[in-house]
């Protein structure tokens, strides 16, 4: 689809970027460490929905409560304390985290609030032990200039990350508490993007800016994007957990496709004169007493019932594709799973199949008095769950009569999305009464403004200007996580800045591509190398080979020695050069001074990185001149 097509559809996209900060947890002194060893302790809890400050029960909270699962929290006593376990009130806010958030806000040209209030955002899916996520609105009305133009940043919040979901069974959801409480900055753009491609570019730009602070966490899962998407006549969807920037445009394209298809379903239902679906469920176990469907047979054997519901005038629509490989029936199944805890649903648009015969389908249709215009949905599970599942299916089918329901959806790896919960309203916020309001003084902001980090683009032009780096190398190093290391090395040692930058940004990268463990190379090793070079004890050509050895576990000193890479003395170079000249009389005879280039290659190869190219060049030239003069 062309970009103006999206504009015509009224596409609106906004981003929420969540970035973990590199400091201890937001409301306690636990380190922000993720664990991959087995948890020594499990704690089982439940949550109950509560009233929000404005007195209405929030529908997202209600939805989770109906699901009614327990939570098993995985606890590591050495890195998780009673605060994460909701057994101790939160401590005062981590001031370092607040400083980082304010710094980010200022970098995004936003206006910090005068007084920050910690809010409780009710989330009762268990990912927060207390049943709410603590969040603080830190600044408003920001913007960022990108190559795509100015992007508005209406709000910047500081909040605690949620626990990690590790698994789920019929009764309990497993959460690991290591991630709970890690400080996050949430940066929300306006719903201003009207094509699927700009958002990823803006996200990349903001991500680079965040890294410029040097105070954010890096690695998988430390930055996550939520995407808000709607089209005209559709509804806002909040799509959670897109970790790959490359996936953003696909997610948007496919969501647009889904909303268009849902609107087509609505129009078709209207045309067919479909009325509200009723919750009349019929038990049809007998029809399947001799079924070839293993799923149903096993379920019945385990004491399940088979419950069916009629969706009047839905024939053909349940099987309609919304996204590649996902049909309207898949959406119904999402709901059935979420609210009924069932494994899935069957619907007549896909039958006969899965071992269910045409005869069974026609018996089913007549049992439930379905006309050929109707679709039938059924589930095989224990009574309570089957009923809850079909009830959710009917609710979702009725939403289809109206169009697109507002939902929070989870991004799948292929760019499709699935239902998580209804979109929460504003009512789920109330004040965190355990923490007093935090005034943000002019003083604090003034001090902060004085030491704002340089932005990547400012760094880039300075590097070109002051260090003589090429535009490309300056760009790369200005966005690099090693930018501070670069400047430190350049200032400390008398070496070519371009050499330092290319060592960090090119040599290390190509060594990593070779499969070497470059993370084993400590900063101190680079210090040592550049110290050798600045003193003329090492030729720059030796750097890759030394780093290769260091990555394998050697120290710089040992690598230099073992490789015989100490730089040659001038006398040694001279000896090498005259040797090269002597052993290639033919070349010199033929080419005269033009033999310099091939001879240079031969000499450098023999020097194996131990000689400074400049010196070799100089001496060779002199030697050739001498020879030429002699002749």
């Amino acid at each position: 689809m062309k970009e103006d097509m999206y504009k015509k559809l009224g596409l609106k996209v906004g981003l929420e970027i969540h970035q973990e900060l590199d400091t201890h947890k937001l409301f306690c002194n636990c380190p922000s460490i993720l664990r991959d060893d087995g948890p020594p302790i499990g704690v089982k809890r439940r949550l109950r929905p509560t009233q929000s400050e404005l007195g209405e029960m929030d529908r997202a909270a209600l939805a989770e409560a109906i699901k009614g699962k327990g939570f098993n929290y995985q606890v590591y006593p050495d890195t998780i304390c009673l605060v994460e376990l909701d057994e101790e009130p939160p401590h005062l806010v981590n001031e370092e985290a607040l400083d980082i958030a304010l710094e980010i806000a200022l970098l995004l040209n936003a206006k910090p609030v005068d007084e920050a209030h910690v809010m409780r955002k009710t989330v009762i899916d268990g990912s927060n032990t207390c049943g709410f996520q603590r969040t603080i609105l830190v600044a408003t009305d920001g913007y960022v200039e990108t190559e795509e133009g100015r992007a508005r940043i209406p709000t910047i919040c500081l909040e605690e990350d949620a626990a990690r979901k590790m698994g789920e069974d019929a009764g309990f959801i497993d959460y690991r508490l290591d991630r709970l409480g890690i400080p996050l900055v949430e940066i929300a753009t306006g719903p201003d993007f009207s094509d699927p491609y700009t958002p990823a570019k803006v996200a990349l730009h903001i991500g680079q800016l965040l890294r410029a602070t040097g105070k954010v966490r890096r690695g998988i899962g430390t930055i996550r994007q939520d995407i808000n998407i709607s089209i005209a006549g559709g509804a806002r969807q909040e799509i959670k957990g897109v970790q790959e920037l490359a996936l953003i445009s696909t997610v948007i394209e496919r969501e647009v496709r889904r909303q268009i298809a849902l609107l087509e379903i609505r129009d078709e239902l209207k045309r067919r004169g479909a009325a509200e679906v009723e919750k009349g469920f019929i038990e049809v176990k007998e029809i399947f007493s001799n079924t070839n469907s293993r799923v149903i047979r096993d379920a019945i054997k385990a004491g399940s019932i088979v419950l069916a519901v009629r969706l009047p005038k839905f024939v053909g629509l349940v099987g309609k594709e919304l996204q590649p490989g996902r049909r309207f029936g898949t959406e119904l199944a999402d709901q059935a799973r979420a609210y009924g805890g069932v494994g899935g649903i069957f619907h007549t648009d896909e039958l006969p199949a899965h071992g269910i015969s045409a005869e069974e389908v026609s018996k089913l249709r007549s049992a439930i008095k379905a006309s050929p215009q109707d679709a039938v949905v059924f589930v095989a599970d224990i009574g309570e769950r089957a009923e809850a599942a079909l009830s959710a299916v009917v609710d979702r089918a009725n939403q289809a009569l109206l169009g697109v329901p507002e939902e929070t959806r989870r991004a799948l790896p292929d760019g499709n999305t699935e239902f998580m919960r209804p979109l929460p309203g504003a009512a789920r916020m109330y004040v965190e009464t355990d923490i007093p309001p935090i005034p943000i003084t002019e003083d604090r902001l003034r001090r902060m403004k004085e030491r704002l980090p340089e932005l990547p683009e400012q760094k880039r032009s300075r590097f070109v200007r002051d260090y003589g780096l090429s535009e490309e190398l300056a760009r790369r190093i200005s966005l690099s996580e090693h930018v501070e290391l670069f400047e430190r090395l350049v200032k400390k040692y008398r070496v070519e800045p371009t050499l330092v930058a290319s060592t960090i940004e090119e040599t290390l990268v190509s060594l990593r591509r070779e499969g070497l463990a470059v993370e084993r190379i400590q900063e101190a090793a680079l210090d040592e190398i550049f110290q050798f070079i600045s003193k003329g004890k090492l030729a720059k050509e030796a750097i890759p080979e030394i780093l290769r050895q260091v990555a394998k576990g050697a120290s710089v000193r040992v690598a230099v020695k073992e490789l015989g890479l100490e730089v040659m003395t001038k006398a040694e170079v001279l000896k090498l050069v005259s040797g090269v000249v002597k052993s290639n009389p033919k070349l010199i005879e033929e080419r005269g001074e033009k033999a310099l280039k091939p001879l240079m290659g031969i000499a450098m190869a023999r020097a194996r990185g131990r000689a400074d190219g400049k010196l070799v060049h100089e001496l060779l030239k002199r030697e050739l001149k001498r020879l030429g003069g002699a002749r």
Partner: protein, 445 residues
Amino acid sequence: MYRGKALKLLKSLSIEVGDRVKIEKAGRVYEGILMPRTELGDPNHFVVKLASGYNVGIRISKGVKISKVEGGKMPRLGLPPLEIKRDPAKPDVTIMGTGGTVACRVDYRTGAVYPAFTAQEIYSAVPELANLANIKVVEVCNVFSENMTPQLWVRIGRAIARELNAGADGVVVAHGTDTMGYTAAALSFMLKDLFRPVVLVGSQRSSDRPSSDAALNLIGAVAVAGKSDIAEVCVVMHGSTEDDFCLIHRGTKVRKCHTSRRDTFQTINDIPLGMVRGTELKLFREDYNRRKPKGRVKVEGKFEPRVALLKVTPGMPSSVIRGVLKAGDKGIVLEGTGLGHVPESLFDGIKLAVSRGVPVVMTSQCLWGRVDMKVYSTGRDLLRLGVIPGGDMLPEVAWAKLMWSLGKTKDLEEVSELMQENLAGEITPRSRPDVFLKPTFALTP
């Protein structure tokens, strides 16, 4: 609420809390509902709840413009009262509100959690109770549990007797957790001929949050009050950090042991009476007072309020006791070291107290174990000075018991006898080997 120049500004524009307002300041525009201001915060900020749900504070300084967009309602936290029909097949349980975190809401005066839900609202918040019992709600008082007094104990005791004598099958007392143990002990001595359960319950996580322990505790308490045959004063609270079961603690052996954990209440020097999982009861022992179909509770509600509980410290001087006596205290409970010892520097003070007819009772700051004052010479000296050994009574329980005993008699001999007699399960005859703290951390690396 707002005060000072903020209030003046609001009044002049006839803007009230709950109105939708627009505040402009230095290029920023905030639009939302004007929220109440905590009085403990400075008076120089407006608090606005934005459409996103966030609250922000806006400093009132030059150039701030506030205007009313539209009138609104004062935000309320109230729960709709739940009407229930009496089911004669179910027990009648009276829930008595006293304040505390089993019943609380956000308070804008302090910005903190405050005890202010009525007990009726608690019931509305836990509709499961409807399947369990016919609930009646009485509010006896509304104080933080740290502000509980012996006078209020008596008021609560009388209210309990009234309910039980009028036919309630059990009473649940919703109480703040800080001094719940003290009240439980006082009620245990005060309520004579108790023939039905009296259950104290509270919560460690306020009931306004989804993770509150209030509901499980309350359901457990109502189950014990309505279904159990324990005709004693007991405390029902979370038995572990999980939302799994509650323990039923005897009112005279229970203590709040942790500042914030859900399983803060522990039975000390004994095993609990039993447990309740959901509404299923499981009792651990036989030796408790049984429910009777008929009876009449008497309230022996005279307490001597002037009793001191002193924690003994190394080198503690006798002037501490002299000060207490000078203040007019009529009894002293010592929380001695180890088996029940004090430094010699305290001997004079103790002598003085006993000579003035002020009983001195010894308990141990170890909490676990019983005092034994015949093992070391100091203990023997203290016995000779007339110190009354408190067995394995908890110091707070001994304190409440001494207040109650002094309400009955001033005679030192009689007080000594009462203090050493097991009246309500406060002194165990034998020390079980399985009731001392067990560490839960990994003992082997």
